[in-house]
């Protein structure tokens, strides 16, 4: 949920600003930076985890489990947005509702994909000494939800492309003498 468009200008501290204001802006900027890099790591990790032929089953499974943990953090960091947007759903206006719907579908698919992946694990769980019987239901569930997440993840990211472009410009461009 790349939903911190309001934080784009948060770093423009003026020399006249009060110390508490500057401290608050620094906090917001640090949080925005955390969101940006965490989202970037999630996207790269998801892309790698989806490419089973490239990673092999062991990396795929451990990456998937790690992805599940980081997704919990991602969702926790954006929980305010979830509550705020859910409350606003009754009001007219389509865009945020569409974003909310995409995010809800992604949450459902990603959760079921990771859960089913753990249940059909061939390497990670046996390494931890847990052996579950094979289930075609969870295997099918994993295939279907993985395909759906491949559709939903780029939509989810692209719906916030302005924020991503703004943050990428801010955090990746090296400007001498200008602290980020």
């Amino acid at each position: 949920m790349l939903s911190h468009c309001g934080f784009v200008n948060a770093g423009r501290a003026t020399s006249q600003a009060d110390p508490p204001v500057i401290a608050s802006r620094r906090r917001i900027l640090a949080r925005t930076r955390l969101d940006f890099w965490l989202d970037a790591v999630l996207l790269v990790a998801y892309t790698l985890a989806y490419s089973l032929g490239f990673t092999g089953i062991a990396v795929h499974e451990w990456l998937g489990i790690g992805l599940g943990v980081v997704l919990l953090v991602h969702l926790t960091l954006h929980w305010d947005w979830v509550i705020r947007t859910t409350m606003k759903l009754v009001r007219p206006g389509g865009r945020e509702r569409f974003v909310w719907l995409v995010n809800l579908l992604l949450l459902l698919c990603m959760t079921l994909c990771i859960a089913s992946g753990i249940l059909i694990s061939e390497v990670a769980l046996p390494e931890l000494g847990i052996n579950l019987p094979v289930s075609s239901f969870w295997r099918q569930m994993h295939d279907v939800t993985a395909t759906l997440t491949l559709i939903l993840v780029p939509i989810h990211a692209a719906l916030r492309w302005r924020w991503i472009v703004g943050m990428a410009r801010r955090f990746t461009a090296w400007r001498p003498g200008r602290p980020l």
Binding site: T47, G56, T76, W79, L107, T111, S135, A158
Partner: protein
Amino acid sequence: MKFLRHLAAVVLVVAVIVGLGVLWAHASGGGAGIGSGFKQVPSHQALLRIRQIKAGVIRLQPDDGIHLADTGNLIRTCEIEAVLATAVIAISVVRRWHRRMRRNAAAGA
């Protein structure tokens, strides 16, 4: 403290979704992983896959980590993501452009 409260809410939501998934598995009789005793016949797709593996149509990779030689799979994933993201961005740009034109027309009238 706020983070922990939110994390608890997120874990609860995730647990509800997984719980519903488990219920679905039991209802459809396929939750062999969580206690259901009977084995299902392999699906047509699974049998087809086994046949393709035996015939050499699908090449199996050893499970010893990243296979730099098989970047085709990774590239395909990136391509699908890029195409979908580009489509969404294009729609967003066109919609914004239309909105701006409408606003300009209304301001001019």
